[in-house]
Symmetry: C2
Subunit: 400 residues, 2 copies
């Protein structure tokens, strides 16, 4: 097994290591300042202050109030809380039962929408173009008098396409101003965007925004949900009343501290890391497309995450390429890590108009600031042979 | 502020420090074996194996199958998932909409039951005796043809009373055998019991059992839910399909590893730690009752957690005692940490028949194996004066 040192890790969209500074910040809260932050004695004030400070740091990055930030156990919980919490609150208030989302959302959105359909909601899954991008006009066209919630991801986890979230929000704002109907809540899954895109909730103009710490060098098991003040919201985890009654449970103090340090770092290094990753990404994309016949970039050619290089290869299974790359010490993905092992073709690629057969040749590289040109060149040196070999295996000989 | 070294920490029911062996086991999974366990390359197999091994360890302690164990973000999420997941699944199957619980459950149970009432469930809150113990016959008496779920805690977090969970399960089993009606699901909140009581789910004969890692020297933000095979259950967090579709979200690998090591340790040292804590507890109880007039033990005199010494003091506020103890370097609680700062009297003490005035004088000490006789004697040396002083302040002079 390759050690992390020799491994070429090109799967940063699946997860990232906890950064040394992040872990260092977390360590005091495991066994030293371990108090329950809800206790009233002075020893617990260290833990309480750590949580409060972390909340302020997050709020600063998101450009919101600290009490609009709640801590969760990760991106999936944040997304579930956003969708279920806003949908149930709106339905109970009699506002409506219609939700609008896109066909290329993460399963955390899509499967939660399907669950809400089982409970009486109607959901419109808006199609996307060949690059995986939704047209704001199509979102507007899907709205009905009963629409209570829209959920559109900030950037796609598989193909890296950046969705027009602020444009959709602008459109909603115009509708509100025209008095045509009451406000519709707007959630964005920003899980893949942290560290790459601006997370300013005022500029994005969203009501709810979800983050997952382990995607930006923070710890697994920690996430953030921004809930704009005044947003109807039913808590999905009830109990001791933590997080101002929006998410009960003893606070994961080390995880919260680590999340704040990681998000602060991600924001501070965003411009430099993005430029660096974009450089590596473009070198990788150019190299693949120019050296491997029958290779195609998936996702938007320009409007894409700086670290995402995703492809389909004609006549070869993405999973087989992955195994070949693994054998050469390269970690990549055929789509999202969550659906690894699933034999179903990517719903994202199908939504872009690819056939199931074409979609099965999917491969995603996702880069990080710890990657190097040498690693890109190494991958470019091994990938063509892997693809070539697989094609020759599945060619005439395989059917002979 | 007292440092943890000089602090007398008598609040182990609120939280415990992460044990050194637990933290050591967790550390490799933050920044070294950091892969997403759902990825298919070999590097991810380290993380996958760590999660699988942890699940086996938990299953071994609980005496169940590994696939009956799911990992959550803590006790509150486990309890919410158990109640919501079983209740919704049963309601949708048309089995019924009635839930039976007790008046002394943690707020994670009670507030979730209230939420379920808002959604159309009927909930019976069965009373308890003066020791906080529920009578199995009263649980049976509350059952109706529509009952789908019973939730009774294994041990009370405030007063330490151990509830007759196995007896209630036995009674349900008898009813099933008599064919009077279909099985009713049985959940127990074992959050306070880990490390003190037997968690064998076969002997307890429960369908669902909730644990919180930070109560047994594991990390905050991690918990366990046992779901007996075949139990109707709707996932409360949906997405990538992790935990066999019962709890989506990238696994918190370090938290899961830490949970397993902590639970294994808790079980291995359970007999010795319980005996030691019982010794300290009884010394503390004897000392308080014999030196402080107007002091009363709350909870059951014998059938109580080995580490719980809880009292009410006549004519004095528990919160004021806490502040006095804090000033002397002693960390304790007036009830549960979750409701700290709440001015409402403990629902648990009210359920035992105390008046709101009497309940306001509540103080809980919860001990750990790291505590010493010297610490008990130190608390016994400062507490009488604190109580005496507070009483004299709130006495004639205060009303003069």
């Amino acid at each position: 097994m390759p050690s992390p040192e020799s491994l070429v890790y090109f799967d940063h969209a699946a997860t990232t290591p906890v950064h040394a500074q992040v872990l260092e910040a977390m360590l005091p809260y495991f066994s030293r300042s371990y108090a329950n932050p809800n206790s009233i004695y002075r020893f617990a004030q260290e833990a309480r202050k750590a949580v409060d400070d972390a909340r302020c740091t997050i709020a600063d990055v998101l450009n919101c109030r600290p009490n609009e930030v709640i801590f969760t156990s990760g991106g999936t919980e944040s997304i579930n809380a956003a969708l279920r919490g806003a949908a149930f609150a709106s339905m109970r208030a009699g506002v409506g039962n219609h939700i609008v989302t896109t066909q290329v959302e993460h399963h955390a959105v899509l499967h939660t929408c399907q669950m809400l359909e089982n409970l009486g909601f109607d959901v419109s899954y808006v199609p996307v173009d060949r690059y995986g991008m939704v047209d704001p006009a199509d979102i507007e066209g899907a709205l009905t008098e009963k629409t209570v919630l829209i959920s559109v991801m900030l950037a796609n986890n598989e193909i890296g396409t950046i969705e027009p979230v602020a444009e959709i929000a602008h459109l909603l704002r115009r509708r509100d101003a025209s008095g045509r109907r009451r406000s519709i809540l707007f959630h964005t899954d920003a899980v893949q965007a942290a560290g790459a895109l601006d997370l300013d909730v005022k500029r994005l103009d969203v009501d709810l925004l979800s983050l997952s710490s382990h995607k930006f060098y923070g710890p697994k098991g920690s996430g953030v949900l921004y809930i704009r003040r005044g947003t109807p919201f039913n808590a999905q985890i009830t109990g001791g009343g933590q997080e101002r009654n929006r998410r009960s449970g003893t606070e994961n103090v080390p995880g919260i501290v680590g999340t704040a340090v990681a998000l602060r770092r991600a924001e501070e290094h965003r411009a430099a890391n993005s430029a660096y990753c974009r450089h590596l990404r473009d070198r990788l994309i150019r190299g693949v497309l120019s050296t491997i016949p029958g290779s195609h970039l998936t996702g938007h050619p320009e409007r894409r995450l700086p670290n995402n290089a995703s492809f389909v290869f004609d006549g070869v299974e993405g999973e087989s390429i992955l195994l070949g790359l693994d054998f050469q010490g390269v970690a990549a993905s055929s789509g999202s890590a969550c659906s690894s092992g699933s034999l179903e073709p990517s719903h994202v690629l199908l939504a872009t108009g690819l056939t199931a057969a074409a979609a099965s040749g999917a491969l995603r590289f996702s880069l990080g600031p710890d990657n190097t040109e040498q690693e890109v060149d190494y991958v470019l040196s091994v990938l063509p042979d892997i693809v070539q070999q697989l094609r020759s295996m599945s060619g005439p000989r395989a059917t002979a």
